[in-house]
């Protein structure tokens, strides 16, 4: 169930918000407040024998994964990168593009169990009066903060539940220095559970903090590569409308390091600012990052079975079942 008003006698959302005397209940502070047990009880009584949906629309927690894992094994895409590298904004833009009718080349949208969560991300990319944009606040950095964003996607007859795992950049900074740090629990979880990764490289940080930012990024990439076991990575230079302002020496040194550390990971440049329509950095590349990983994960894996035939003198090990012998 979604959040409701915790003010006694307020009829919102069914009626007008008591505080604002309008339909603006989402803006009301009481609406934002946590739901009281009392308000839940009242609601249950009103609705009589109501049956709830298994999903709420809010971000999944790890324990919610079973909502979709009953029908298909979900693919988890882990968002990795420093604070402010643009992980949350990337997800907001991905949803915004789908919302506006831009499609993947091969995958089509079959719904989402976290629609309200996506909408929360996307609101930070909306242009308000006077050209104002309020970007998302930093993702909370407590180690038990998880937010998984869900998309159901189809490619022909193939059906996939995809979960994007977001967490705070600070947690990843801690993790990149010490993967066992007790404050990096969610980063560890994301690293262990993800099937693929989006590794964000912050162009603006490289302009402002140059070498210091570069070494942080390389450190995190090395940690990402340490136990990758063939899982695909997309290297994404965010805020790439500014990429030309990174000092060439830093840019090429970082590119070299990343390709050395992460091997054949494909590199993308993205931006949230569309300069033209269609815009390559904004409209095409944001979509292409996720599609690249989906396609990688969809490739049939070579089965590496090495048959061991007749390598022993022992009759017991050479026994291949009785069916071959009359």
């Amino acid at each position: 169930m979604r959040k409701k008003c915790n003010k006694t006698d307020c009829p919102a959302p069914k009626g007008l918000c008591l505080e604002h005397a309008s339909n603006d209940h989402p803006k009301c502070e009481h609406w934002q407040g946590t739901q009281t047990d009392q308000s839940v009880d009242i609601q249950k009584k009103v609705n009589g024998k109501a049956k709830s949906l298994p999903w709420t629309g809010e971000p999944f927690q790890p324990t919610d994964i079973e909502i979709v894992s009953q029908r298909s094994s979900p693919l988890i895409i882990g968002m990795v990168g420093s604070a402010e590298a643009g992980k949350t904004s990337y997800l907001g833009m991905l949803y915004t593009l789908l919302f506006n009718g831009i499609k993947f080349n091969y995958w089509s949208f079959a719904g989402s169990s976290t629609l309200a969560a996506w909408e929360t991300l996307a609101q930070y990319l909306k242009i308000k009066p006077h050209g104002k944009v309020e970007f998302a606040p930093p993702t909370p950095s407590n180690p038990d903060y998880y937010s998984l964003y869900h998309l159901a996607l189809k490619r022909g007859k193939l059906f996939r539940d995809v979960l994007f795992a977001d967490s705070s950049g600070e947690v990843f900074n801690i993790w990149s220095e010490d993967t066992q740090d007790q404050n990096a629990e969610n980063a560890r979880w994301i690293y262990e559970k993800s099937n693929a990764f989006i590794f964000m490289v912050d162009s603006v940080a490289l302009i402002r903090r140059r070498g210091a930012a570069k070494s942080e990024i390389v450190q995190m990439a090395e940690q990402l590569a340490a136990n990758l076991k063939g899982r695909p990575v997309a290297v994404v230079w965010s805020k790439a409308d500014e990429i030309g302002n990174i000092r060439e020496t830093i840019k090429s040194a970082l590119s070299d390091d990343l390709s050395q550390v992460l091997g054949d990971a494909q590199v993308f440049e993205v931006s949230n600012f569309s300069k033209s329509d269609p815009d390559i950095l904004c409209h095409q590349n944001n979509i292409a990052v996720t599609e690249y990983l989906l396609e990688k994960l969809n490739e049939t894996k070579n089965i590496k079975l090495v048959p061991q035939v007749g390598a022993s003198d022992d009759l017991f090990f050479n026994y291949r079942g009785s069916c071959g012998h009359e």
Partner: protein, 286 residues
């Protein structure tokens, strides 16, 4: 010996049509106009028996006859309207479970559904969803408009904006399918889905209904195209009233020529048809 029984169409279809739509999406005016036409035998559809309770729309019928706009149904009026109709010798029920449309809003607001709705969903294999596209206004985000100067700020806290109209419709369809025990992995053929874009005259457009939906709610259309079989959904335009009744001339026209002579529907190809009852007929063929 094994016999195979081959029948035309889908076996075991429930013969009721469910009309679903949020508040103010034009359900009242459509049903009022539909009933007037059916009663006046202006259509190949007839009433198979007198409906038990038409209180919900009698006011709308009266107002239209006087050349007045029907008033919005109060959101609290959870009147259920059932019209027993006969089409080509088949008896069918046209069910509008939620006249005010508020229950539809509640489904996506509270993420739950009551017993009555669940029964209705399981007994109907044809859904008609009313959407009023004129009311859906575009919002500008960074991907659409390139402002010369963007003043960017960091927001201080996470606020949930509530669902946009587009995701409300997606959430609604997902929820209804869930309670009907329909998965989305295989393309859906039952329930069939008719999307009706209402108050078509407000749009002042020559576009086809599919094009309007693509422009107004592209992700909803994408979602439907992904999970429904192509033959199991259709998009129509509908203007039950034909024009707004806000001038003395328009009111006069309605009183002189009678309400049942106004209104039209727009088919997939963009062709207009004065017989709005065909909408129900076509939805039966899906």
């Amino acid at each position: 010996m094994i016999y195979f029984l081959i029948t035309e169409g889908r076996v075991g279809m429930n013969d009721s049509i469910l009309i679903i739509g949020p508040p103010d999406s034009g359900k009242t005016t459509f049903i009022a106009q539909f009933l007037t036409r059916v009663k006046k035998r202006k259509s190949s559809i007839t009433l198979s028996k007198t409906p038990e309770n038409i209180k919900a729309i009698t006011d709308a019928v009266k107002r239209l006859a006087m050349g007045e706009e029907p008033t919005t149904t109060s959101a609290d009026e959870n009147v259920e309207l059932i019209l027993p109709i006969n089409i080509e010798d088949k008896n069918i029920e046209l069910v509008c479970p939620d006249y005010g449309g508020e229950q539809v809003n509640d489904i996506t607001e509270f993420m739950e559904i009551d017993d009555h709705w669940r029964k209705l969903l399981s007994s109907s294999d044809r859904w008609i969803l009313f959407i009023r596209p004129y009311e859906i206004v575009p919002e500008y985000d960074l991907s659409i408009s390139s402002y010369e100067e963007i003043i960017s700020e960091k927001s201080e806290d996470i606020k949930s904006p509530g669902l946009s109209q587009q995701s409300k419709f997606i959430e609604l369809l997902q929820s209804l399918l869930h309670f009907k025990n329909k998965g989305v992995k295989q393309p859906i053929d039952t329930p069939s889905l008719s999307i009706v874009l209402t108050c078509w005259d407000e749009l002042k457009t020559t576009e086809k209904p599919g094009e309007v939906l693509q422009k107004k709610l592209p992700m909803l259309l994408h979602f439907i195209e992904t999970i429904w079989q192509e033959e199991a959904f259709k998009i129509f335009g509908l203007s039950s009233q034909e024009f707004p009744l806000n001038t003395p001339e328009a009111k006069d026209k309605y009183q002189d020529e009678l309400p049942e002579n106004f209104g039209y529907m727009v088919d997939q190809s963009g062709k207009r048809d004065k017989d709005i009852t065909k909408l129900i007929k076509i939805s039966l063929q899906l």
